[in-house]
Symmetry: C2
Subunit: 200 residues, 2 copies
Amino acid sequence: MAEPIDFYFDFSSPYGYFASSMVDGMAGRFERHVNWHPILIGVAFDETGNKPLIDQPLKGEYCAHDWQRVSRFMDVRWVLPKVFPISTHNAARLYYRLEGRDPELARKFARAAFHTYFGEGRDITSPEAVAEVAAPLGIEADEVHDTVHDPTAKEDLKRRTAEAIRRGVIGSPYVIVDGEGFWGSDRLWMVKKWMQSGGW
Amino acid sequence: MAEPIDFYFDFSSPYGYFASSMVDGMAGRFERHVNWHPILIGVAFDETGNKPLIDQPLKGEYCAHDWQRVSRFMDVRWVLPKVFPISTHNAARLYYRLEGRDPELARKFARAAFHTYFGEGRDITSPEAVAEVAAPLGIEADEVHDTVHDPTAKEDLKRRTAEAIRRGVIGSPYVIVDGEGFWGSDRLWMVKKWMQSGGW
Protein backbone atom coordinates (compact mmCIF):
# COMPACT_ATOMS: atom_id res chain seq x y z
CA MET A 1 0.00 0.00 0.00
CA ALA A 2 1.39 3.41 -0.98
CA GLU A 3 1.44 6.34 1.43
CA PRO A 4 -2.00 7.55 2.51
CA ILE A 5 -3.30 10.83 1.18
CA ASP A 6 -4.66 13.61 3.40
CA PHE A 7 -8.13 15.03 2.96
CA TYR A 8 -8.75 18.30 4.81
CA PHE A 9 -12.24 19.77 5.02
CA ASP A 10 -14.70 21.66 7.15
CA PHE A 11 -18.07 20.03 7.88
CA SER A 12 -19.65 23.31 6.79
CA SER A 13 -18.05 23.24 3.33
CA PRO A 14 -20.29 22.26 0.39
CA TYR A 15 -17.35 21.43 -1.85
CA GLY A 16 -15.88 19.45 1.04
CA TYR A 17 -19.13 17.48 1.14
CA PHE A 18 -19.02 16.77 -2.58
CA ALA A 19 -15.37 15.72 -2.37
CA SER A 20 -16.09 13.45 0.60
CA SER A 21 -18.46 11.43 -1.55
CA MET A 22 -15.73 10.40 -3.96
CA VAL A 23 -12.28 10.79 -2.40
CA ASP A 24 -12.10 7.31 -0.83
CA GLY A 25 -13.21 5.55 -4.00
CA MET A 26 -10.81 7.52 -6.13
CA ALA A 27 -7.82 6.87 -3.88
CA GLY A 28 -8.79 3.22 -3.46
CA ARG A 29 -8.25 2.60 -7.16
CA PHE A 30 -4.59 3.45 -6.55
CA GLU A 31 -4.45 1.44 -3.34
CA ARG A 32 -4.21 4.58 -1.28
CA HIS A 33 -5.85 5.07 2.06
CA VAL A 34 -7.32 8.49 2.81
CA ASN A 35 -6.86 10.18 6.17
CA TRP A 36 -9.75 12.52 6.84
CA HIS A 37 -9.01 15.74 8.72
CA PRO A 38 -11.98 17.92 9.66
CA ILE A 39 -10.70 21.37 10.57
CA LEU A 40 -12.08 24.83 11.25
CA ILE A 41 -11.57 26.56 7.94
CA GLY A 42 -12.54 29.93 9.43
CA VAL A 43 -9.16 29.91 11.18
CA ALA A 44 -7.45 29.56 7.78
CA PHE A 45 -9.69 32.31 6.41
CA ASP A 46 -8.38 34.59 9.17
CA GLU A 47 -4.90 34.04 7.73
CA THR A 48 -5.80 34.44 4.07
CA GLY A 49 -8.33 37.24 4.50
CA ASN A 50 -10.91 35.01 2.83
CA LYS A 51 -14.64 34.89 3.63
CA PRO A 52 -17.29 32.18 3.28
CA LEU A 53 -18.34 31.97 -0.39
CA ILE A 54 -21.98 32.59 0.41
CA ASP A 55 -21.13 35.96 2.02
CA GLN A 56 -19.42 37.30 -1.09
CA PRO A 57 -21.58 39.39 -3.44
CA LEU A 58 -22.24 37.68 -6.81
CA LYS A 59 -19.90 34.82 -5.89
CA GLY A 60 -22.47 33.68 -3.34
CA GLU A 61 -25.17 33.50 -5.99
CA TYR A 62 -22.85 31.72 -8.38
CA CYS A 63 -22.01 29.14 -5.76
CA ALA A 64 -25.59 28.53 -4.67
CA HIS A 65 -26.38 27.73 -8.30
CA ASP A 66 -23.21 25.70 -8.72
CA TRP A 67 -23.84 23.52 -5.68
CA GLN A 68 -27.16 22.41 -7.13
CA ARG A 69 -25.56 21.77 -10.51
CA VAL A 70 -22.66 19.79 -9.03
CA SER A 71 -25.00 17.75 -6.85
CA ARG A 72 -27.11 16.80 -9.88
CA PHE A 73 -23.99 15.92 -11.84
CA MET A 74 -22.59 13.77 -9.04
CA ASP A 75 -25.98 12.40 -8.09
CA VAL A 76 -25.46 13.40 -4.48
CA ARG A 77 -28.30 14.68 -2.31
CA TRP A 78 -28.15 18.42 -1.75
CA VAL A 79 -30.03 20.96 0.33
CA LEU A 80 -28.66 24.41 1.08
CA PRO A 81 -29.18 24.42 4.88
CA LYS A 82 -31.22 27.26 6.33
CA VAL A 83 -28.44 27.91 8.83
CA PHE A 84 -25.29 28.26 6.76
CA PRO A 85 -22.38 28.40 7.20
CA ILE A 86 -22.01 27.07 10.73
CA SER A 87 -19.31 26.53 13.27
CA THR A 88 -18.32 22.88 13.24
CA HIS A 89 -16.04 22.59 16.24
CA ASN A 90 -18.33 20.17 18.07
CA ALA A 91 -18.57 17.75 15.15
CA ALA A 92 -14.82 17.95 14.53
CA ARG A 93 -13.94 17.39 18.19
CA LEU A 94 -16.10 14.28 18.26
CA TYR A 95 -14.55 13.06 15.01
CA TYR A 96 -11.04 13.00 16.46
CA ARG A 97 -12.18 11.43 19.72
CA LEU A 98 -13.82 8.61 17.75
CA GLU A 99 -10.82 8.26 15.47
CA GLY A 100 -8.66 7.54 18.50
CA ARG A 101 -10.65 4.46 19.41
CA ASP A 102 -12.26 3.33 16.12
CA PRO A 103 -11.23 4.94 12.81
CA GLU A 104 -14.04 3.20 10.91
CA LEU A 105 -16.63 4.60 13.29
CA ALA A 106 -15.13 8.07 12.96
CA ARG A 107 -15.46 7.83 9.17
CA LYS A 108 -19.08 6.72 9.48
CA PHE A 109 -19.80 9.62 11.80
CA ALA A 110 -18.20 12.08 9.36
CA ARG A 111 -20.32 10.79 6.50
CA ALA A 112 -23.44 10.96 8.66
CA ALA A 113 -22.64 14.54 9.74
CA PHE A 114 -22.16 15.66 6.13
CA HIS A 115 -25.33 13.86 5.08
CA THR A 116 -27.39 15.38 7.88
CA TYR A 117 -26.19 18.87 7.11
CA PHE A 118 -26.07 18.99 3.32
CA GLY A 119 -28.21 15.99 2.38
CA GLU A 120 -31.08 16.87 4.73
CA GLY A 121 -30.34 20.49 5.56
CA ARG A 122 -30.46 19.92 9.30
CA ASP A 123 -28.16 21.97 11.50
CA ILE A 124 -25.25 20.15 13.15
CA THR A 125 -23.82 22.98 15.24
CA SER A 126 -24.86 22.23 18.82
CA PRO A 127 -23.73 19.30 20.97
CA GLU A 128 -27.35 18.10 20.93
CA ALA A 129 -27.44 18.10 17.13
CA VAL A 130 -24.11 16.27 16.97
CA ALA A 131 -25.43 13.70 19.43
CA GLU A 132 -28.43 13.13 17.18
CA VAL A 133 -26.14 12.41 14.26
CA ALA A 134 -24.07 10.06 16.40
CA ALA A 135 -26.89 8.13 18.09
CA PRO A 136 -27.75 5.76 15.18
CA LEU A 137 -24.07 4.73 15.14
CA GLY A 138 -24.31 3.58 18.74
CA ILE A 139 -22.41 6.56 20.12
CA GLU A 140 -23.80 7.58 23.50
CA ALA A 141 -24.97 11.16 24.03
CA ASP A 142 -22.79 11.21 27.17
CA GLU A 143 -19.66 10.60 25.14
CA VAL A 144 -20.62 13.40 22.78
CA HIS A 145 -21.22 15.90 25.56
CA ASP A 146 -18.08 14.91 27.47
CA THR A 147 -16.00 15.23 24.32
CA VAL A 148 -17.19 18.59 23.07
CA HIS A 149 -16.54 20.17 26.47
CA ASP A 150 -13.26 18.38 27.12
CA PRO A 151 -10.28 20.78 27.18
CA THR A 152 -8.08 18.07 25.66
CA ALA A 153 -10.45 17.67 22.70
CA LYS A 154 -10.55 21.43 22.27
CA GLU A 155 -6.76 21.65 22.27
CA ASP A 156 -6.52 18.70 19.91
CA LEU A 157 -8.71 20.36 17.26
CA LYS A 158 -6.86 23.65 17.65
CA ARG A 159 -3.54 21.91 17.17
CA ARG A 160 -4.76 19.98 14.12
CA THR A 161 -6.21 23.10 12.51
CA ALA A 162 -2.95 24.99 13.10
CA GLU A 163 -0.98 22.09 11.64
CA ALA A 164 -3.21 22.07 8.56
CA ILE A 165 -2.54 25.76 7.99
CA ARG A 166 1.19 25.14 8.43
CA ARG A 167 0.90 22.50 5.72
CA GLY A 168 -0.65 25.07 3.38
CA VAL A 169 -4.34 24.25 3.73
CA ILE A 170 -6.05 27.44 2.54
CA GLY A 171 -9.56 26.20 1.86
CA SER A 172 -11.91 23.25 1.98
CA PRO A 173 -11.48 20.70 0.56
CA TYR A 174 -7.72 20.45 0.34
CA VAL A 175 -5.91 17.22 -0.51
CA ILE A 176 -2.22 16.49 0.04
CA VAL A 177 -0.68 13.62 -1.92
CA ASP A 178 3.05 12.90 -1.63
CA GLY A 179 3.63 16.40 -0.28
CA GLU A 180 1.74 18.05 -3.13
CA GLY A 181 -1.31 20.10 -2.12
CA PHE A 182 -4.45 20.52 -4.21
CA TRP A 183 -7.18 22.97 -3.27
CA GLY A 184 -10.81 22.46 -4.25
CA SER A 185 -13.09 19.62 -5.28
CA ASP A 186 -12.45 20.74 -8.86
CA ARG A 187 -8.91 19.49 -8.51
CA LEU A 188 -9.68 15.89 -7.61
CA TRP A 189 -9.10 14.94 -11.25
CA MET A 190 -5.56 16.31 -10.89
CA VAL A 191 -5.04 14.49 -7.60
CA LYS A 192 -5.97 11.35 -9.53
CA LYS A 193 -3.48 12.16 -12.32
CA TRP A 194 -0.82 12.75 -9.67
CA MET A 195 -1.44 9.33 -8.08
CA GLN A 196 -1.52 7.71 -11.51
CA SER A 197 1.74 9.18 -12.74
CA GLY A 198 3.67 9.91 -9.55
CA GLY A 199 3.71 13.58 -10.47
CA TRP A 200 5.11 15.63 -13.33
CA MET B 1 -23.20 24.87 -36.11
CA ALA B 2 -24.58 25.16 -32.57
CA GLU B 3 -24.64 28.46 -30.67
CA PRO B 4 -21.20 29.90 -29.91
CA ILE B 5 -19.90 29.83 -26.37
CA ASP B 6 -18.54 32.90 -24.56
CA PHE B 7 -15.07 32.97 -23.08
CA TYR B 8 -14.44 35.87 -20.68
CA PHE B 9 -10.94 36.58 -19.39
CA ASP B 10 -8.48 39.26 -18.38
CA PHE B 11 -5.12 39.33 -20.17
CA SER B 12 -3.54 39.49 -16.72
CA SER B 13 -5.14 36.23 -15.55
CA PRO B 14 -2.90 33.14 -15.42
CA TYR B 15 -5.85 30.75 -15.40
CA GLY B 16 -7.32 32.76 -18.28
CA TYR B 17 -4.06 32.14 -20.15
CA PHE B 18 -4.18 28.41 -19.50
CA ALA B 19 -7.83 28.23 -20.55
CA SER B 20 -7.11 30.21 -23.72
CA SER B 21 -4.74 27.48 -24.85
CA MET B 22 -7.48 24.86 -24.93
CA VAL B 23 -10.92 26.45 -25.14
CA ASP B 24 -11.11 26.69 -28.95
CA GLY B 25 -9.98 23.10 -29.48
CA MET B 26 -12.40 21.81 -26.87
CA ALA B 27 -15.39 23.67 -28.28
CA GLY B 28 -14.41 22.76 -31.83
CA ARG B 29 -14.96 19.10 -31.10
CA PHE B 30 -18.61 19.98 -30.51
CA GLU B 31 -18.74 22.25 -33.54
CA ARG B 32 -18.98 25.30 -31.34
CA HIS B 33 -17.33 28.60 -32.08
CA VAL B 34 -15.87 30.51 -29.13
CA ASN B 35 -16.33 34.26 -28.75
CA TRP B 36 -13.43 35.70 -26.80
CA HIS B 37 -14.17 38.61 -24.47
CA PRO B 38 -11.19 40.26 -22.78
CA ILE B 39 -12.46 42.35 -19.86
CA LEU B 40 -11.08 44.20 -16.87
CA ILE B 41 -11.60 41.73 -14.08
CA GLY B 42 -10.63 44.31 -11.47
CA VAL B 43 -14.01 45.93 -12.09
CA ALA B 44 -15.72 42.64 -11.20
CA PHE B 45 -13.47 42.34 -8.15
CA ASP B 46 -14.76 45.73 -7.00
CA GLU B 47 -18.26 44.19 -7.00
CA THR B 48 -17.36 40.91 -5.32
CA GLY B 49 -14.82 42.31 -2.86
CA ASN B 50 -12.24 39.96 -4.36
CA LYS B 51 -8.53 40.67 -4.77
CA PRO B 52 -5.88 39.37 -7.16
CA LEU B 53 -4.84 35.87 -6.05
CA ILE B 54 -1.19 36.82 -5.75
CA ASP B 55 -2.01 39.53 -3.20
CA GLN B 56 -3.74 37.12 -0.84
CA PRO B 57 -1.56 35.65 1.94
CA LEU B 58 -0.93 31.89 1.54
CA LYS B 59 -3.29 31.74 -1.45
CA GLY B 60 -0.72 33.73 -3.42
CA GLU B 61 2.00 31.19 -2.65
CA TYR B 62 -0.32 28.32 -3.46
CA CYS B 63 -1.19 29.85 -6.81
CA ALA B 64 2.41 30.64 -7.76
CA HIS B 65 3.18 26.96 -7.22
CA ASP B 66 0.01 25.85 -8.96
CA TRP B 67 0.63 27.92 -12.08
CA GLN B 68 3.96 26.16 -12.61
CA ARG B 69 2.35 22.79 -12.01
CA VAL B 70 -0.54 23.45 -14.38
CA SER B 71 1.80 24.77 -17.08
CA ARG B 72 3.91 21.60 -16.88
CA PHE B 73 0.80 19.45 -16.99
CA MET B 74 -0.63 21.31 -19.99
CA ASP B 75 2.77 21.68 -21.63
CA VAL B 76 2.26 25.42 -21.97
CA ARG B 77 5.13 27.90 -21.54
CA TRP B 78 4.97 29.75 -18.25
CA VAL B 79 6.85 32.60 -16.62
CA LEU B 80 5.48 34.55 -13.66
CA PRO B 81 5.99 38.08 -15.00
CA LYS B 82 8.04 40.45 -12.85
CA VAL B 83 5.27 43.04 -13.13
CA PHE B 84 2.10 41.21 -12.08
CA PRO B 85 -0.81 41.66 -12.11
CA ILE B 86 -1.16 44.50 -14.61
CA SER B 87 -3.87 46.70 -16.01
CA THR B 88 -4.85 45.37 -19.42
CA HIS B 89 -7.15 48.08 -20.76
CA ASN B 90 -4.84 48.91 -23.67
CA ALA B 91 -4.60 45.32 -24.89
CA ALA B 92 -8.34 44.82 -24.47
CA ARG B 93 -9.23 48.05 -26.31
CA LEU B 94 -7.08 47.00 -29.24
CA TYR B 95 -8.61 43.53 -29.23
CA TYR B 96 -12.14 44.85 -29.80
CA ARG B 97 -10.98 47.36 -32.43
CA LEU B 98 -9.34 44.52 -34.36
CA GLU B 99 -12.34 42.25 -33.87
CA GLY B 100 -14.50 44.83 -35.62
CA ARG B 101 -12.52 44.58 -38.83
CA ASP B 102 -10.91 41.11 -38.70
CA PRO B 103 -11.93 38.60 -36.02
CA GLU B 104 -9.13 36.19 -36.98
CA LEU B 105 -6.53 38.92 -36.51
CA ALA B 106 -8.04 39.84 -33.14
CA ARG B 107 -7.72 36.22 -32.04
CA LYS B 108 -4.09 36.11 -33.17
CA PHE B 109 -3.37 39.30 -31.28
CA ALA B 110 -4.98 37.90 -28.12
CA ARG B 111 -2.84 34.76 -28.30
CA ALA B 112 0.26 36.84 -28.91
CA ALA B 113 -0.54 39.12 -25.96
CA PHE B 114 -1.01 36.15 -23.62
CA HIS B 115 2.15 34.52 -24.93
CA THR B 116 4.21 37.67 -24.52
CA TYR B 117 3.01 38.21 -20.98
CA PHE B 118 2.90 34.70 -19.51
CA GLY B 119 5.03 32.76 -21.99
CA GLU B 120 7.91 35.24 -22.01
CA GLY B 121 7.17 37.31 -18.90
CA ARG B 122 7.28 40.62 -20.78
CA ASP B 123 5.00 43.42 -19.64
CA ILE B 124 2.07 44.30 -21.95
CA THR B 125 0.66 47.27 -20.03
CA SER B 126 1.70 50.35 -22.01
CA PRO B 127 0.57 51.33 -25.51
CA GLU B 128 4.19 50.83 -26.62
CA ALA B 129 4.29 47.30 -25.26
CA VAL B 130 0.94 46.48 -26.91
CA ALA B 131 2.26 47.88 -30.18
CA GLU B 132 5.27 45.58 -29.93
CA VAL B 133 2.96 42.58 -29.55
CA ALA B 134 0.90 43.75 -32.51
CA ALA B 135 3.73 44.62 -34.92
CA PRO B 136 4.59 41.08 -36.10
CA LEU B 137 0.90 40.68 -37.04
CA GLY B 138 1.16 43.64 -39.41
CA ILE B 139 -0.74 45.98 -37.12
CA GLU B 140 0.66 49.52 -37.37
CA ALA B 141 1.81 51.28 -34.22
CA ASP B 142 -0.35 54.22 -35.26
CA GLU B 143 -3.50 52.10 -35.11
CA VAL B 144 -2.55 50.90 -31.65
CA HIS B 145 -1.92 54.39 -30.33
CA ASP B 146 -5.05 55.81 -31.94
CA THR B 147 -7.15 53.00 -30.50
CA VAL B 148 -5.97 53.02 -26.91
CA HIS B 149 -6.61 56.77 -26.67
CA ASP B 150 -9.89 56.72 -28.56
CA PRO B 151 -12.88 57.64 -26.33
CA THR B 152 -15.08 55.27 -28.32
CA ALA B 153 -12.71 52.36 -27.65
CA LYS B 154 -12.61 53.29 -23.98
CA GLU B 155 -16.40 53.38 -23.78
CA ASP B 156 -16.64 50.11 -25.68
CA LEU B 157 -14.46 48.24 -23.19
CA LYS B 158 -16.31 49.78 -20.25
CA ARG B 159 -19.62 48.70 -21.71
CA ARG B 160 -18.41 45.17 -22.42
CA THR B 161 -16.97 44.78 -18.93
CA ALA B 162 -20.22 45.99 -17.37
CA GLU B 163 -22.19 43.60 -19.56
CA ALA B 164 -19.96 40.71 -18.49
CA ILE B 165 -20.64 41.49 -14.84
CA ARG B 166 -24.37 41.69 -15.57
CA ARG B 167 -24.08 38.22 -17.07
CA GLY B 168 -22.54 36.94 -13.85
CA VAL B 169 -18.85 36.98 -14.72
CA ILE B 170 -17.14 37.00 -11.33
CA GLY B 171 -13.62 35.92 -12.25
CA SER B 172 -11.29 34.96 -15.05
CA PRO B 173 -11.70 32.74 -16.95
CA TYR B 174 -15.47 32.45 -17.07
CA VAL B 175 -17.29 30.50 -19.80
CA ILE B 176 -20.97 30.75 -20.66
CA VAL B 177 -22.50 27.92 -22.64
CA ASP B 178 -26.24 27.94 -23.42
CA GLY B 179 -26.83 30.46 -20.64
CA GLU B 180 -24.93 28.38 -18.09
CA GLY B 181 -21.89 30.04 -16.53
CA PHE B 182 -18.76 28.23 -15.37
CA TRP B 183 -16.02 29.97 -13.44
CA GLY B 184 -12.39 28.89 -13.57
CA SER B 185 -10.11 26.92 -15.85
CA ASP B 186 -10.75 23.96 -13.55
CA ARG B 187 -14.30 23.85 -14.84
CA LEU B 188 -13.53 23.41 -18.52
CA TRP B 189 -14.11 19.67 -18.11
CA MET B 190 -17.64 20.49 -16.96
CA VAL B 191 -18.18 22.91 -19.84
CA LYS B 192 -17.24 20.00 -22.08
CA LYS B 193 -19.74 17.70 -20.34
CA TRP B 194 -22.39 20.38 -20.73
CA MET B 195 -21.78 20.64 -24.47
CA GLN B 196 -21.68 16.87 -24.76
CA SER B 197 -24.93 16.24 -22.95
CA GLY B 198 -26.87 19.46 -23.41
CA GLY B 199 -26.93 19.91 -19.64
CA TRP B 200 -28.30 17.97 -16.70
